[in-house]
């Protein structure tokens, strides 16, 4: 069932000078999966994600995302993916509505569709009252949900979320994951990085990256069994100790 592998990479490597940020990783992601990409800060998660979504050119290795070659067809890939970066990167000096409209516009949505999407995002995220406020003025949790919504504005097949819940309180994190499940139920693939090990339990499969390499990859249950651990946190600690 190879056609169901929406992400499929072999020996993907990225070097910055002498430093190897991502060291020959190979994995695949099935359509509709919630794929967790775990690792400590600096393990190479963000670099790996950037190679998949076309922001960064791999030093070596090959792969496809949504059926397109990551080395040669990054612009085609970009049409089919959404990306929410680790650093908040919407325009702080634009209002909520203006941000939505802008991104919808550059993804080429029609005017009718732009209006529709704007309405539904504002409604779903309960942002009606602040729609004309500058994004800078919103609390962090709201900003991140808005970022997520905007990364989905063109209804991509695959969504890359880089540390989507960084720095927000547990309640907002739970809400966030509920939204992720909703999106997943629509048949979209979710590729999410996090360093919260409890979040790993929500994923269908997780990979754990240590120093640029994927050290473990399986369902959370299988991993716990393999490492005879009680939680994912435990798995991670055991891996790190090796």
């Amino acid at each position: 069932m190879l056609q169901n592998r929406v992400i499929n990479v072999q020996n993907l490597t990225k070097k910055f000078g002498v430093f190897t940020a991502v060291d020959s990783i190979s994995f695949h992601v099935e359509q509709g999966e919630i794929f967790g990409f775990l690792g400590a800060n600096g393990a190479g998660k963000t670099t790996a994600i950037k190679m998949l979504n076309g922001l960064s050119k791999p030093t070596s290795g090959s792969g496809t995302v949504a059926g397109f070659d990551i080395n040669t067809q990054s612009e085609q890939i970009k049409k089919r993916i959404g990306y929410m970066s680790q650093k908040f990167s919407l325009y702080g000096d634009l209002t909520v509505k203006e941000n939505i409209r802008f991104y919808a516009g550059i993804y080429g949505l029609s005017h009718r569709l732009i209006r529709q999407r704007t309405q539904s995002i504002l409604q779903e995220l309960h942002l009606q009252t602040v729609k004309n406020q500058l994004v800078d003025a919103l609390p962090l949790g709201w900003k991140q949900r808005l970022s997520f919504a905007i990364s989905m504005i063109h209804e991509p097949d695959i969504v890359f979320l880089d540390e989507p819940t960084g720095g927000v309180d547990p309640k907002v994190r739970r809400q966030f994951w509920e939204t992720i499940y909703e999106v997943s139920e629509q048949g979209r693939t979710i590729f999410v990085t996090t360093h919260y090990m409890d979040e790993a339990e929500y994923c269908d499969r997780v990979s754990i990256m240590v120093a640029g390499k994927i050290e473990a990859l399986n369902t959370p249950e299988a991993l716990k069994e393999e490492f005879s651990a009680i939680s994912m946190d435990d798995v991670f600690l055991k891996l790190a100790r090796e």
């Binding site: 950037k50 922001l55 960064s56 970009k78 993916i81 919407l90 702080g92 634009l94 516009g105 550059i106």
Partner: protein
Amino acid sequence: MRTLSFIVQKEFIQIFRNKPILFMMTVLPIIQLIVLASAASNEVKDVRVVIVDMDYSESSRDLVSRINYNDRFIIAAFSKSKAEAEGIMQRDETDLILEIPADFEQKFIRKERPELQILANSINGQQATLGTGYLRSVIGMFNADLTEAVMPGGSYRSGSTRISVRNWYNPELSYSDFMVPGILAELAALLTIVLTAMNVVREREMGTIEQINVTPIKKWELITGKLIPFLCVGLVLLSVGLLVGRLVFQIQYQGSLILMFGYAILNLVAVLGLGLLISNFADTQQQAIFVAFFFVLVFILMCGLFTPIESMPTWAQYFTIPNPLAHIISVSRKILLKGSGLSDIKMEIIYTFGLAVTFNSLAIYTYKKQT
């Protein structure tokens, strides 16, 4: 094309929302224009002279009073000795010292060719040479009149030479007429090049550019989308500046304003392309500013605004070809002051077109959506 319009809209919203910058890019340059156009003058007036009159005769007093009545000169002091006068010059309180020797009148009558001495503070070369020239011509007239008095018909002034001078386009030789179009062009270029260079780098610093790079947007759409808003800023500045030139400096524009704006668009596109090109090679706004600043400085010094391009050595004149500022200054002076037409500026148009194409294609080519 639709994508482009969304970028342009976004940039405009951001420009209008940033009130301090908006103020600084509209009002400040106009104030600059008014101030600089009034300041930028090489006219030498009010030359300060210290007189050391050791003769104190009727003739020497006559000469001094001629200098006094000439409105180019201000007598800064009368001094008893040359040493005292040199002290005044050391303190930079005079430009010239005129020394009249003790036996001046005596020698003149005895046909012994008395010697006057002019000492010039030549640190400001122009002030010194022109000032000396004026003083020499006053002395020359004085000499002729004095000769006429002792020996009528003895001077070469009989059968006078009348050289009538007409200065076209600017009969009063007003400096502001000359400077306003140039300074305006320079300010528009300076502002737009720095603002665009900083704009893209700012997005890089803030991280917002990443969100754009991950969309399927085309590079040319992004670059053009960044270019158009600042082109408009430049054109607005130009319009207001031209109005100021007309109302404040009373300049009568001779040529076609449509031609002027048409050329200005071409030129600004070239300048903006350079700004965008610079931004591609800068990681921080600081870097962008300094690189932009380097180009702007070299451009301004070598654009013919303050010193004529014709007086540069030939090799340096070639360096003005890749300098968009040199072209717009030449064109604005030609069109606005002399009423030149399309055929008179065709070389400038060709060069600028080449620069616009080069800078912008390089800007698009070197823009990296992927690192």
